[in-house]
Assembly symmetry: C2
């Protein structure tokens, strides 16, 4: 992406030197995806300047590439009529991508200012729930009746002017039900008089308007699709979802999983202003403070043991820390397995056994090492043994907790990725302190 940095530098230079005409010429040659990337790094005033130098077509494409909060700030800084004129020229699904990120009031005002027909098309799409196939789909596609001939179909495609996203010809029956598709290259190779139903692929994977976007992504990945037809409950063809939108979903969902597992919110980006993410960050940090106080209260129970033998305080975080890595590793693999569709009910016992086996074996290895270190350091055999045993116990707890908590969350339809280390390591922190300090307290008379 060095090219991207060069472009960014030259746009900033032209802005600084006020050569707007030259900048407009440069921008004409730049892909809208690159323009939007540069714009995110600019102060708002410069964003508006760059935006107004774009051709209307490229301005629309830039808008649909921008994400919050850049998008809503820019739109607020522009004139609403100006924005609605640009949206009028965009395909309805791209308008949806813009409008759904704006505050409701602003979105309504802009929709009102748009051409009636386009505005209605957009509002029809906005009826579908967020994160559903209906919200993602484009209502523009080419379909012919199954009784049409190849020649008629070709004629139809020529007239349709659907742009570069037409790769399949969809086939429908008398009631607009989806009954197949024909890849364009197959159409090219067919005799003009052949009826379409003779060359169509019948068994077409499709989704309904209410299918969750994550399920759409799984289908596309599983069956190597490049476009998915979207139908209603009675299989009437309503639109299509292109693989480019699906890739965005895949990256969005992966980002969400990664960030939630790291105890951050799913939609934060490095470029967000700190004020915008303050509350979300604070929430998890306060939750973490709560779990830390909980763990501290367990230590509090054993304060007199520590008073008697301060060495306990030196070793106790080791047991908790090892439980932490155990739960985190296990939960990470399980959460990812759920996202990839590998972690199903039928393999639960196998996975649990795997984790328990790993907890026992790596626990035993680490238990031996830490017992040896503790013995060499402090010269107390019994203390070393207690430490080793508590560590093995905690790794076993880690295996069970790390497997079962994400799966239970999934069963209750809660995103398993919120089983971030903040939550799950609470168990091993508490259990770790409890088992080590508890064992030591029970055997205290032999330790002193």
């Amino acid at each position: 992406m060095e090219e991207a940095e060069r472009l960014s530098e030259s746009i900033k230079e032209l802005l600084a030197s006020g050569r707007d005409e030259r900048l407009a010429t440069v921008l004409e040659e730049v892909h809208p995806a690159d323009v939007s990337r540069v714009m995110r790094e600019l102060p708002l005033g410069d964003q508006v300047r760059v935006f107004r130098l774009l051709t209307p077509q490229s301005a629309g494409a830039v808008l649909s590439e921008l994400d919050d909060p850049t998008l809503s700030e820019l739109v607020s800084a522009l004139d609403e009529v100006e924005v609605s004129r640009i949206l009028d020229r965009m395909p309805p699904d791209h308008v949806v991508e813009v409008v759904e990120e704006l505050p409701k009031e602003q979105a309504d005002k802009i929709l009102d200012l748009m051409e009636e027909e386009k505005s209605e098309e957009v509002q029809e799409l906005l009826v579908y729930g967020e994160r559903t196939a209906g919200r993602l789909m484009s209502p523009e596609f080419v379909a012919v009746h199954e009784q049409a001939t190849v020649a008629q179909a070709l004629e139809h495609i020529r007239k349709a002017k659907t742009g570069d996203s037409a790769f399949y010809l969809y086939v429908v029956d008398d009631h607009d039900h989806l009954v197949g598709l024909v890849p364009l290259h197959r159409l090219l190779a067919a005799e003009p008089g052949t009826p379409i139903h003779a060359i169509r692929t019948e068994d077409v994977e499709s989704v309904t308007v209410s299918t969750d976007q994550e399920e759409v992504a799984r289908l596309v990945q599983h069956y190597d699709l490049i476009q998915v037809p979207v139908v209603d409950a009675s299989r009437r063809l309503l639109g299509t979802i292109g693989v480019d939108d699906v890739i965005d979903v895949i990256r969005e969902e992966a980002t969400e999983d990664i960030q939630r597992l790291g105890g951050a919110s799913g939609d934060e980006t490095v470029l967000d202003p700190p004020q915008a993410v303050f509350l979300k960050r604070l929430t998890w940090r306060v939750v973490n403070l709560g779990t830390a106080v909980l763990a501290a209260s367990v230590i509090g129970i054993f304060e007199s043991s520590i008073q008697a033998l301060a060495t306990l305080a030196v070793f106790m975080p080791i047991v908790a820390s090892m439980g932490g890595i155990g739960t985190t590793q296990t939960a990470t693999i399980v959460v990812r397995g759920i996202a990839l569709g590998d972690m199903t009910g039928s393999v639960l016992r196998r996975v649990l056994w795997k984790e328990v086996w790993l907890g026992l074996t790596t626990g035993a290895a680490n238990g031996l090492i830490i017992a040896a270190i503790a013995y060499i350091w402090k010269g107390q055999v019994l203390l070393a043994l207690i430490l080793g045993v508590a560590l093995v116990f905690n790794m076993l707890v880690a295996a069970v907790v790390g497997t079962l908590i994400p799966i239970s969350l999934k069963m209750f339809r809660i995103d398993p990725a919120i089983a971030s280390s903040v939550i799950i390591t609470t168990f091993t922190d508490v259990f770790g302190f409890f088992s080590f300090l508890g064992l030591a307290t029970l055997l205290m008379k032999f330790l002193l």
Copy 2:
């Protein structure tokens, strides 16, 4: 994916009742992607049985869908001649997907048994490094000379029989250099006599054989491509990469990031046998043990302070734990930002400032809360203050460490995702214990 579970059940039933003929009929109707999913859950003997009931074409597709270790176990259980006959019928890039996952010796033997021409095509692709565009690409595509007419191009496509993955016609010059492309639907709409160069898109995004697969994925996502042409250093067209392979790369890379951040290896799956992942899991657990011992040794320095005031041991893990969530949140957002291409050198100062701001503000809030809790619990104002101040310090360290470590790793071309919590929280563990216990020791005479 309930359908998938039903399919899995019915295949297992047919296997159990020995109705192989019926099973073969069922399998004919099932998509190879679904067959391979079910096979991963079966014991090896049943995998072989299912595999031998497949048509040769579908057997090939199943092989290219399978991942290690299932793939190499299955291939080892089959006859090498049998495998090579199946590979002979597969497109060369799919054969590569199978062969590259096998042990070298086994792969060589199978390549020797294959038809010479196909084997050579495959070996040409295997020359390119792993995770490069060359290794991903298919050498099958349709290209015509820029001087050809639309009619000639159409004739060429009809003869090429490239299967369902042909969406673009590529345009080359006298030296096979890529000079443009034409989407098939544009070809359909053009007059037969039009020269191709008049309707081609000239500005085509392409990659070279040595481009990293992650860069290919970023390009596809950024420019919404569905196929990327692959060229050599002199822009000669050598192959194409379809978006389906790119989606696999995106998911693979996301899995790697998620799992490495969680302290697990990038390629582990929930279904791996425990023995296969034992060493990788153990490595991180031992590294974690090492960092935990390091943190414990810091506590060891202050053992006499704890002896004097055991309450210190109760609160000290809180400071470390808050540093842990701070570094983890920050590093997660930064690592994901690097993967998405948002985190570039030009925004480093802005991101660092954001994290420091968040560290200070959330640190102050949490510091106040914990000071209040400590005061109510233990009634010691000074201890409560020391705890609050140490917590704010540690959150600041977390902000800086969490931002700079992933970026430094990236600069040294090390995957920033290995900056997993195991590594980065070492800093805040050590600093947290040191600052809290150090401050308490300095002011010990006022605490007792």
